[in-house]
Amino acid sequence: MRRHIVMTILLAVAPVPASARAPYPDDPLQSPMWTAHATTIFGDDPVRFDARVKLSFPQIAENQRSFPVALDARGLEGVKRMVVLADLNPIPIAIDYRPLAAAPYVATRIKLDQRTPVRGAVQLANGQWLVSGGWVDAAGGGCSAPPLSRVRGDWADHLGEMRGEAWPTGEAGTARLRVTIRHPMDTGFVANIPTYNIEELSVKSASGETMADMEIWASVAEDPAITIMPHAAPGDALTVDARDSNGRDYIAHLLVARLSALPEAPTP
């Protein structure tokens, strides 16, 4: 506790002159890292906590290597950027997403290195950031344990295998796309295993328009699974294009299904 206070004071005082720092609102989660992360991510942009940013996760962190998170900002207009972060992870940001021609929804699984606030931050076209989230209790070590595929030794045999499907949704002109990519997503915190992670993923339409674009960090769980909602109709062709930190490309093509998924997705 005392160390946190010292850290907060150091971070608040040392790196940024008080005059240049935007006045961030008090953090309802009382995170020791709030000001530091706000300074990095939001800079001088206005910030407020807003319940219309819906961050959903399970009631229990059953697996600290892979904790499901869904960030839904479909209740807001003009969302241009969506960030999923865990304050006390050594790699705090998991996904930094730009839904260019997509409904503002993104779901994935992240690592948890300890009990931490998990947040969704959404930036609107006017520059304003809206934030929500909650504390998640978790066993330690999600970022510093070796990936299971490294333990099994078969990560290279399956590297880059992609699975996925796209379905029309109840909202006309919006599809739901799910993609999984086999990748160890090494954080660099395990001895003798350097950082190696997927760092970019985009979805393009048949005409080559980028519909969705995201930066992915090594705090995303091994074998990343991503769910997004591009503006695409039944039968439309989509291209998923990802790249890892060694420069390897991962490309997949798929068509949006003709039939909508059954049963209906639950309303959270």
Partner: protein, 317 residues
């Protein structure tokens, strides 16, 4: 110094309930007779929480001419000690055998209170404890803190190799099954026909799946259903007087769960949404249902995605 004063206050608030818990940290062992010479100690139908000290699994106490036999022994050294004292007071005979039904810590970490030479488990369970015992122990200490004080991971001393064990004329049949974990022991008391199902059986409490193989679990349930047994002590939940209801309920749940999560994958739900699927009304009697659905999503979803989502890399447009 607003911050430090708030910190001090937080410290005070945090300390007083902890002290209260410390004072009340004694397990209450309340055996209930379920058959001639057999008692069940009911676990709380809850997740492992500080207020229940991890005492969530059912325990069986059997009185035999040769001495007292226990099936499972709870989550901690302190539980094992309290259980041993209560069982010996009840039967008037020393504990001569402790069976561990499977690797999970709510059933077996109480071994710490017994001589390992009288503790018996299936070979697969002993291997599971050797591999995963330390990890389970760490998780229990994190969740339960002082309840776990002094509890060490102790491997059972006897590897079960026979189908029966006789205790001065009272014979117990030992069934080596699997599915809830890689090795699940069920025990049938031949004298009364009472079945002790371990965690192959959940009754009015949602089954948990962290190490489950659902196909093998179903096979084991079929084996149990074919026994000519009377009542059944499930691993969790109340005593099953019929002996068949816990089997039926457990099978119904795992069949539903596997189907529903497969449907969720094929419907495009992510893991958060899959944890929110509707639970059928017939499972309303099952405690901890939503909690176990969300745990099961974590355990089972990646394999279901690999099964149902098609490969899309390298496919031509």
């Amino acid at each position: 110094m607003k911050l430090s004063r708030r910190t001090m206050l937080a410290g005070l608030v945090a300390t007083s309930p902890a002290a209260a818990i410390g004072a009340a940290m004694d397990y209450v062992i309340a055996p209930v007779a379920v058959a001639d010479g057999i008692w069940m100690v009911a676990g709380a139908d809850e997740p492992i929480l500080t207020h229940n000290g991890g005492a969530i699994a059912n325990i069986a106490i059997l009185s035999t001419p040769a001495g007292t036999v226990l099936v499972d022994c709870g989550p901690s050294l302190r539980y094992g000690q309290a259980l041993k004292a209560a069982a010996e007071r009840l039967t008037g005979k020393p504990v001569i055998r402790v069976y561990i039904t499977h690797v999970h810590p709510d059933h077996g970490m109480g071994i710490a209170a017994f001589d390992p030479a009288i503790v018996a488990a299936l070979p697969g369970t002993i291997a599971d404890i050797a591999r995963d015992g330390r990890g389970f122990s760490d998780a229990m200490y994190r969740l339960l803190g002082d309840w776990m004080r002094g509890t060490e991971v102790v491997p059972p001393g006897i590897s079960i190799a026979s189908e029966r064990e006789d205790f001065g004329g009272r014979t117990l049949r030992l069934l080596p099954l699997s599915g809830h974990s890689s090795a699940d022991l069920a025990v049938l008391d031949e004298q009364t026909g009472l079945l002790i199902g371990g965690d192959l059986l959940f009754h009015n409490r949602a089954p948990s799946t962290p190490t489950a193989d659902l196909t093998r679990w179903r096979e084991s349930l079929s084996t149990l259903a074919a026994l000519q047994h009377k009542g059944a002590i499930p691993g969790h939940g109340p005593f099953d007087l019929t002996g068949t209801e816990a089997i039926r309920q457990t099978r119904d749940w795992i069949d539903w769960l596997e189907g529903a999560l497969g449907d969720a994958v094929r419907s495009g739900l992510d893991m958060v949404e899959a944890g929110q699927i509707a639970i059928p009304a017939r499972f309303a009697v099952m405690a901890a249902a939503r909690y176990e659905v969300q745990r099961s999503v974590s355990h089972l979803y990646p394999a279901l995605e690999a099964r149902f989502l098609p490969r899309i890399d390298g496919t031509a447009r």
